[in-house]
Structure formats: C-alpha cells, structure tokens
C-alpha cells in the first residue's frame, strides 16, 4: 500500500546477474513499474526481501505480487512464497521467449535490441496480469 492508502501490485524480478534472461526480467519490470502501470505497481529488492527486511515483508504480505523469473530455479517465486507473500502471478522470461523465438538476446550488462524487444513483450504480459489482479482488488 502506498502513502495514499492505495494497494499496489508488487512486481518482483529475479536478480539473475549471469545471463541475459535475468536482465530481461528486470527491464520488463522497470517498463511496467515506471511506464505501463506506474501508478498501480512498484518493485522491491529481492535480496532485501530474502534478508528478512520488515518493510519488504510487509509489502509482499499486504499486496498482491507478481514474480518474474529468468531461469528455471525461479528464485523470485520461491522467495516470495518463503516470505509468506501474497503470490498472485508468476511469469517467466522463457514464456516470452517461446512466443518470440526469432529473438536471440545475448548481451547481459546492457540489453541488445533483441533483449529489449523480448523485455517489451514480457512487460505487456505483466501489465495484462496486473490489470487482471486489479480488477479483483
């Protein structure tokens, strides 16, 4: 819930640092929280949540959460569940990849055009999920 008392959907990307899919999960999250649905969503640091930070725990328990994972280990989803968070949606970069197989993102530190395009496609999926959840708030 933000300062105005409005509930928000918390979008939590995985923090993958070694592969392009981790960067794509973050970029898609930023596209949603800073652009597509900036008034109704926010993100948080996954590592801070997992460290037991009380404010982060409160946020994920009191608001609906969408996790966005870059690899099959699904750290974001697992950690939100472990934190007792209100997990309402779980998306994976691989799902966006399956619909955009021609894209071959390679760059990790700064996404290449294919990576940015895949992130944009994933962001649309996240935004759609946000709308579904807000309809039920």
């Amino acid at each position: 819930m933000d300062v105005s008392g409005q509930r928000k959907v918390i979008v939590i990307p995985c923090s993958g640092i070694g592969k392009a899919f981790g960067s794509i999960s973050r970029e898609a999250t930023y596209e949603v929280t800073e652009n597509l649905r900036k008034d109704t969503t926010q993100t948080l640091c996954l590592a801070l949540l997992v460290s037991g930070d009380e404010e982060s725990l409160r946020l994920v328990r009191n608001n609906k959460c969408i996790t966005v994972d870059g690899c099959p280990l699904q750290c974001a989803e697992k950690n939100v569940k472990l934190a007792g968070g209100n997990l309402a949606g779980s998306l994976r970069v691989i799902d966006a990849y399956k619909e955009n197989r021609r894209l071959k993102p390679r760059s990790v530190t700064f996404l290449d055009p294919d990576g940015r395009q895949m992130a944009a496609a994933l962001a649309e999926r996240i935004a759609k999920k946000v709308d579904e959840l807000l309809g039920g708030l």
Binding site: S15, G18, S51, T109
Partner: protein, 137 residues
C-alpha cells in the same frame, strides 16, 4: 593434491529498487566481462540466500568480494551469515562520497556520468581482486 584454481567470487547486491543497485551490478559485470574475466566468477545473490548449495559452498571455499548498493548491505550480510567473512566489501554509497557525480541517473538506464561511476567502482573491485590473488596461499 591438485592445486585449487584461483577464482574470486564477486557477489553483487541485486538492488532493483535503487540506482546504486544498478551501479553495483554493472560494475560487477564489467569486472567479470572485461577487467578480470579469467580470475572472477559471480554468484546470484537471491539463489545464494534461498539455499543454493553450490553457491554457498563456493563462497565458503573461495575468497569473495561483496558489492552492495546501499548500507543495508544484503550481499555482505548474506555472505557472512551463510558462508563466511568476505575478503573485501565495497558499498557503492560509500564509494560515491569519493567521486564527484552531480546527479545520478535513473535505476533503469545509466547516463554517462553514472556509468563513469560504475566504471570507477569496477576499477576498485578489480584492485581488490588483485589484492586477494596476491595473498592467495
């Protein structure tokens, strides 16, 4: 007994919420990809925190350098809690005090000034890597 391969683990905070988190990730990637590619590896922090066995064992058996975006120091605390004391600790907000950076950019896309800061943090990490390797026994 076969000699242990000399590798230093760089553990970056994920810091999705703050530009300092982005700086720590970009700096870490610059070290891994350009400055010390043969001497370093990285560990995905949320996986490490979630109980990734291989990650924890690596951090216990090999020297690590933690790179945190803010003074909550998730990477340092997690490493100390689950594996052992890091060989060196870098906090971006502390490092920023030493550099003139008029205005940091957004967390999503680093401007030239903020990227220059990330490069300086990367140089500092590389220096610490060299120190660790110099004292390797």
């Amino acid at each position: 007994m076969e000699a242990q391969e000399k590798k230093v683990g760089i553990i970056s905070c994920s810091g999705e919420e703050r530009v300092e988190g982005t700086i720590s990730r970009v700096a870490t990637r610059l070290v891994l990809g350009k400055l010390r590619p043969n001497e370093t590896v990285t560990i995905c922090l949320p996986l490490f925190l979630a109980g990734g066995r291989e990650e924890r064992e690596f951090a216990r058996d090999y020297p690590t350098i933690t790179v945190d975006g803010c003074d909550k120091m998730c990477a340092k605390i997690a490493t100390e809690r689950y594996s052992g004391k890091p060989a060196s600790t870098i906090v971006v907000t502390d490092t920023l005090k030493n550099y003139q950076c008029p205005k940091l950019s957004s967390r999503r896309k680093l401007n030239d000034e903020t990227l220059a800061v990330a490069r300086k943090v990367a140089d500092r990490i590389a220096e610490e890597v060299d120190e660790v390797l110099k004292h390797w026994v």
